[in-house]
Structures are given as structure tokens and as C-alpha cells.
Subunit: 329 residues, 3 copies
């Protein structure tokens, strides 16, 4: 495939960097991906599934990834670190980067990034502030991956969600998707709505307790790009029509003192054996995890329970992203 | 050696797993080992002593171990991680897995394990609740090693203790063992008593302050399997008759407000140069570490002070366990 | 080059260790280096710059470094861990070694070191107590590197500072150095003064707010070894005469309740575009980082702003030290 080259200025030197056609420099937000790019990432992810445990994998040998986590997220961190190590690369870990001078001594994020880029080849960053990943990418001369920045984005989660739908259902165009639970606060469902809107003939059902309904910005966006959507209070009816029931956790931390509202919202829509009873044979249940009791454990053994496979797909997507950002296509 | 095969069900797929005769799936508690298994583990541990620092060791290359520690224990964690890396394997570390959604967001241990098993090939787990390791092993499709579960078990510590006795004294049958210190709360001495009882003609002396005497369940168990035991208040007399004096730390945290009882118990039986004076020439002093002043530092230079060699044996035992669980025999 | 051999006693065994002429066992304090040793280290550091990202580097393959940090310092830890991994070695990390029994259960540092040396080949230690590194080295049978011990030493920082001056200016003899900012509390500038004094014809200017002036011990030392020094309150004048302006952060934590004194000291000497205006064309600005506003961000783009290159040099110096301590010269 043909190469694209660019000049990068790095401290005193400038270097010409050439990559093959996959021209992603950083992974910052779900909106940056078009259908073609998604297709390329998913293709590499499929290759990754095959090589996962091959002892001879040295694809990223000699490369160092820094996991710069300004707030803890063990699940996401482990997934990225596993991905890097499965490819033969190495990892520098900072589980609590708030102590990384920044907060403690007043260093700016920009300065921290300029230091860390001297020690590593790629930065995976989690931050508590929306927009932090973009700021990091703007100063870094190495690729930056956003592993969640506050209420902002968590683009690799959105990628693995779409990958899982394609992997399990076999298509993305024409998909019928039920988004259930905390649609107001869930970063996940918002990003997923953005990404899935890139496919044609998509239908989305929103099923949420009144206090955590999907916000207008997403609804307007979907309408503006021609995606059909509908709100419903009948989970069983929605489940009977969907390819994917995507359940989410009601986030207690968003309710503050109103424990009563939380308890009310929490018990409202549960995916249980009744839902399985009406769910089409080839449909699936997804969940970004962790779950509490919004999916009952007796659902786990049903082959349509896809949430642990979905978590596993996070590994393949992250392997693909790391390979593409470090080696190009 | 001949193979044993089994069918494992993992999410949507089932796989036939064949291993050679060593058929340990998980390491959960000291009681699960018989003499034959112990002999096999010790044989591999001996091989491990030879290869420790060989640069060409790629025995576990491509394998990933997850250290899932729900309470910190740097010593045990480092020992396992060193073992894995000495064999060419790689490690995913979670020093503070309590934040791993579980406690923080209410995820069950079972769900956490199902996620982590997607990222790794073997799980080493430390937990604050007795029985947690068994629960983890029951859902995991990859091997689980118990690195301590609350007041429960710490089986690799028991293995390294028995290995050290055989390595230093040259035998296990006919051994004379003095267990000293906090016998009521010490997980270590309880597990050691269970394991050593598998050998014949064993004699155990208990030397403990009144408030932390060995409990009846162990005494009854030893009697039931024909192990001779005796309680004594005379450390010097016991030391003069033993192959092994196994000293333990009085655990302050068990005394709560009763600091007076703690101080009283703590000073009662000290291994010092007086004890060395009566200890047989080929006997040894052991201690699971860390120690305070229950062994005086002037004992350290005596060749019979085996406690740092004992700690080092933990490395070889853990290397052996990792190799056996991941590759079979 | 010819070998020097020594006998090391390690637990029950003794071993003859032979190394080539580079005879550093540990790195404990800046004063231990003479000009020859510095020259050797810098020569290896230059080699390290070339091999940094070569995928085939297995120079330290099979070696394990333990980073034993009794207080967090993410920047220093990442720099050492990157260095080890760039050379093909492996790392055991303890970000919060205070929990490593020592503090929590009362184990001595000496006992902790004797345990950790069984798991690793070299120890990089950060401690909150002055003198801790020397104590660790005195019991360890493997090399110990001091990565900062309280108000004491941080020798690899001093090494990378001198290396940066040579690398950027092209000489050390005859250098003119302006030390600016918190000269009373800055471990960095004190160590740098010690090291640079080994070169001839050096001139040092101290520019510090009254409350954090350079202490008499360093001034007396410099005078005793024939280094010219001078105090000044005019940063612009000093900058116009220097090869290196070494700016440091005013350490708020040293002022306790006296926030007024802190604010006063903090704003006094700022490196900004005015300073750049008078700074010679081939001079540089250095800073140990993190910085607050004692260097304005509009200085960053000037080619004379050397502080991020300086941080990067820390990687090469640490690679050199690790190679020299583990493999000899």
C-alpha cells in the first residue's frame, strides 16, 4: 500500500515520518472514525484474535507503552497492557499519575507529557478532565490514546462495542439496537450512538427510567443524520424486536443525596430470563461492565449473553489500535 | 509421560485440554497436595534453582500472569512476579484490586475473574476473605493460584516451608519440628502442620505464649493421622532436640486494645545466641518473615539461620508451580 | 580491558566476582565519582543514545531490576524502568514500598533488602530517610542505586545534569554556570555544585531570593577546591555571562505556614523572554523539572531551552549506569 509522509518537529530535530495508508496519529474521540477506518481496524482486530497466544509474537518487540492513568481504572488498564504484551511490547505503568508532579507540585499536563514521551513510544492516558487527551496529543510527538477523559470520551470502548455487534450479528447496516438503563450519564451509550450512526438503516430504541433519559443532543444528532429512533417504556416489547439489547448500569454516584431516586431507577429495567424469553434467537445481550443486578446472573449461561465476549473483544481492538498506531497498516 | 484430557467449556466454545500426568488445575489450599505431588513440585523446584539467571530462558515466553491483589502484600507479589519473569513470562499487576470495580462499584468477584481471564493465562490472587480463591477458581477457565485469602490459606508459603526443610535437612520423614511463637493466629504454622503430617515418623513441639497457643483443631488432626506432638514452655530444651526451630512473629494486630498482653507474649520466646548454643549442628532456624525481634540479628550470621534462604526458596517453588500449571509436567 | 575480582559472601556460599576495570558496585552519592568515572559513564551514555529504539537490543535480557520506592516519584521511577526495558531487561515495581512490611509490620530496611535481593539482580531504591541507600548497599549482595534518599542525595540526577552540560555546550572545563532559584533546599543544585567542582576553571553564580540562599557548606567546599563563585541579585546580568542558566523551583512545601514568604520568593527570578534576550547564542537553560512558572512557557520553543532534552538524557545516563553495574565495562 502507498505511503504518506509528514514532517514532525521534535525538540531540536525534525524527522520525516512515513506511514502506510492508515493515517491515524492519535485516538481521541469516537467521532474521528469513518466507516473505512472502522473497517480497517476491525480487519486487524480479526487478525489479532488468531495470534493472541502465539509464543512467537514479536510484532511490537522493542516498543514501550506508557499507561498514564490520572484516575484508577484497573479494567481498562489491564486490557491495554495485556494487548501490548500479547504483541511482544513492553509497558511502563502509572496507576496513580495524579501524584506525577502535576497535581502534587503544580506541573502542567503538557510538561508531564513532554517528559513521558522521552521514555516511551506511545501513551495511553486516562484523565479526570474532559479534553485532557486532546491537549496531550497536541504537544506529544508520539501517539496518544484516550482511555477515558472524565465525562468526555472513551473511544476504544465504543470501537469494541461496534466490533462486538459486527462479530456477533454479522452486520452493522440495518441493525436494531435497544439501549437500556442510564442513558443520561453513560459515556458508553452516547459514544456508541455516534458510531453506529455511520451505518445505514439503523434503528435505535431508548429504554430508560425518566430521571436518566437520553439527552436531546444525541437525539437531534441521530435525526440529523437520518437514524430512526424511538423511546419506549416497555423493555419486553423492545427486546422482542432487537438484534442487540445493550444494558447499562445506573450510576449511583450521579444521584448524590437522592438515594430514593437511585433505588427507583435501578430496579426499573432488568434483563432477566423473561427478557431472554422474548429476545430473538440470534440476538445478543451486551453490557460494558461492571454490572450489578441490572442483568441477573441466570442470564450468564445463555449463549446470547455476549458481555464477557464483549470484554474480551476489547483486547483485540486494543491490539489492533496499538499495531496500527505504531506500525501503520 | 501419558496425557489426561478434559473438556472445558469457555463461553460459547468448548475445548479439549490435554495435559501430562501432573493434573493440578489450581493451587487453592495446602490440603490438596499428597506426597507424590509434593515430590513432583520439589523436583521441578530443584531444576528451577539451576536455571534462575540463565539469559536464554523462554520457558513461559508468551504467557501472561495477572497478579490480582485485593490487599497489598508486596513481598508475596514480588516473589510471584520474579518467578514468572525468570521463566520468560510476562505480568499484569494490580496492587490494589479493591478498586477493581468490585468494592468501588459493586461488581462480584466472579464477574471480575471472568473479565481478567480474558486478558491473561493464569491468575495469582490475594484476597481479604477466606474462601475467595476457591470461588475464583470455580468460575475461571484458566488456572488460579491462591496467594493468601484472609485468615484462610497461603498454600505456596506452606510448600516453600516444606521444600526448605527437605533442602536443608535432607529428609522429611522422621523430622523433629519446633513451632514457636504465635501458633493461634499464624496461618503459616497451621498450613505447615497439615503438610508435614503427610510424612512419617514426624514429631512436633509447640512452644507458644499462653494467649496464642496452638488451637485444638490442629492438635486433633495431628493425633488422628498419627503425628506425635507435645506442648512445651522450655524453648531451650526443645531447640536442643529439634531439626528445625520454626519461629513466628506475634501478630500485634490480633490483640486489639490489649497492648499489655501483646508485649507480654512478644518477649516470651526469643531465638538468640543462647538458643543457637543448644541447637544441634545440622539443625536450622526458619521464619516466614517479616521478623521483628523474635530472632535477634546476631543470629543472622550463623549458617543455621535459614530464613533468608527460605524466602529465596519461595522463588523456586513459585517458578515450579507456574511451570507445572501452565505447561504440565 | 583487564579484570578485577573480588569475593562476595552471599548467605551460605561465597562467590568470586570478576569485572572489567569499571569498578562501581553501587551508586550512592555524587561525591563517589571522579573525572575518569564520569568520563566512562558519559561515553556509555553516548552509545545508549544510538541504541535506544533498536528492536534487537537484548543487552540486559534475563536481568531483573527491582524498583523499591518508599515514597512515590513517578518521574524518576519511569525513567529507570524505561532505561531497563530499553536494554531488554525486566522490572519488578513497588510504587509504595512503605507498605512492604517495614513500616506496616516493623521489619528493618536491612531485612527487606535481604529478601528483595533474592528476587532481583539490581535494586533501585527511593527512600524518605537520608542515608537509607548506603544502609541498603551495605547488606545487599547485588548492586544498589540511590534514586533519592530524603534530603540526602539523588546522584543520577547530578550525573544527567553534568552530562547535559557536556552534551549541549561541548565542554565542562571552563564552564560558566548560573544557579538560580531555591538554592537552600534544592538537592539538585547542591549535588551539581559538588560534581562540577571536579572540572577546572569553573565559575558559578548564585542567584537566589534571600530566604533560600545557597548555604555556607557548599560555598566553603567550592572555595576549598578552588572553584570561583559569586552571589548576585541581577539575573539578567548573570544570564548575559553564562553558558548555562540552571533554574529551579521554589519548593512551597519548605515554607510551612509562611505562604507570604513563599509567594515573595517565587516571583523574584523568572526565566522569560527578557532573559533569553541577553543569554548568549550558544548558552542553554536547564531545569530539573517539574517547573511551575519560574520558566515561562514562551521560552519552550527557543532552541536554547534544554530542559526536556535534559530529562531525556536521564534515560541515557540510567541506561549507562544499569549496563555498567550489571555487566561491567
Amino acid at each position: 500500500s502507498h505511503l504518506t509522509c509528514s514532517i514532525r518537529y521534535h525538540q531540536r530535530s525534525s524527522l520525516v515520518v512515513c506511514r502506510s495508508k492508515f493515517d491515524l496519529d492519535d485516538v481521541i474521540e469516537a467521532q474521528q472514525f469513518d466507516r473505512d477506518t472502522l473497517g480497517q481496524i476491525f480487519e486487524v482486530a480479526r487478525e489479532m484474535e488468531k495470534i493472541e497466544k502465539n509464543k512467537e509474537v514479536d510484532i511490537l518487540k522493542g516498543y514501550l507503552m506508557a499507561t498514564l492513568f490520572y484516575e484508577p481504572s484497573t479494567r481498562t488498564r489491564l486490557s491495554f497492557e495485556s494487548a501490548m504484551k500479547r504483541l511482544g511490547g513492553e509497558v511502563l505503568t502509572t496507576e496513580n499519575a495524579r501524584e506525577f508532579s502535576s497535581a502534587a507540585k503544580g506541573e502542567t499536563l503538557e510538561d508531564s507529557i513532554r517528559t513521558v514521551e522521552g521514555y516511551s513510544d506511545i501513551i495511553v492516558m486516562r484523565h479526570f478532565e474532559s479534553g485532557a487527551a486532546r491537549r496531550a496529543a497536541s504537544v506529544a510527538s508520539i501517539p496518544v490514546i484516550n482511555a477515558g477523559d472524565g465525562p468526555g470520551q472513551h473511544p476504544t470502548q465504543a470501537l469494541l462495542d461496534v466490533y462486538t455487534i459486527e462479530r456477533e450479528i454479522g452486520k452493522l447496516d440495518g441493525i436494531k439496537l435497544g439501549l437500556v438503563g442510564d442513558l443520561a450519564n453513560g459515556r458508553t451509550v452516547r459514544s456508541l450512538a455516534y458510531l453506529i450512526a455511520k451505518y445505514s438503516d439503523v434503528k435505535i430504541y431508548f429504554v430508560a427510567p425518566e430521571v436518566v433519559k437520553m439527552k436531546d443532543d444525541i437525539k437531534e444528532y441521530l435525526s440529523s443524520v437520518g437514524v430512526e429512533w424511538e423511546e419506549s417504556t416497555d423493555l419486553l416489547e423492545v427486546a422482542s424486536k432487537c438484534d442487540v439489547v445493550y444494558q447499562t448500569r445506573i450510576q449511583r454516584e450521579r444521584f448524590g443525596e437522592r438515594k430514593d431516586l437511585y433505588e427507583q431507577a435501578r430496579g426499573k429495567y432488568i434483563v432477566d430470563r423473561n427478557v431472554l424469553g422474548v429476545l430473538p434467537k440470534d440476538a445478543i445481550v451486551m453490557h460494558p461492565l461492571p454490572r450489578l443486578d441490572e442483568i441477573t446472573v441466570d442470564v450468564d449461561d445463555d449463549p446470547r449473553a455476549a458481555y464477557f465476549r464483549q470484554a474480551k473483544n476489547g483486547l483485540f481492538i486494543r491490539m489492533a489500535i496499538l499495531k496500527l498506531l505504531l506500525l501503520g497498516r
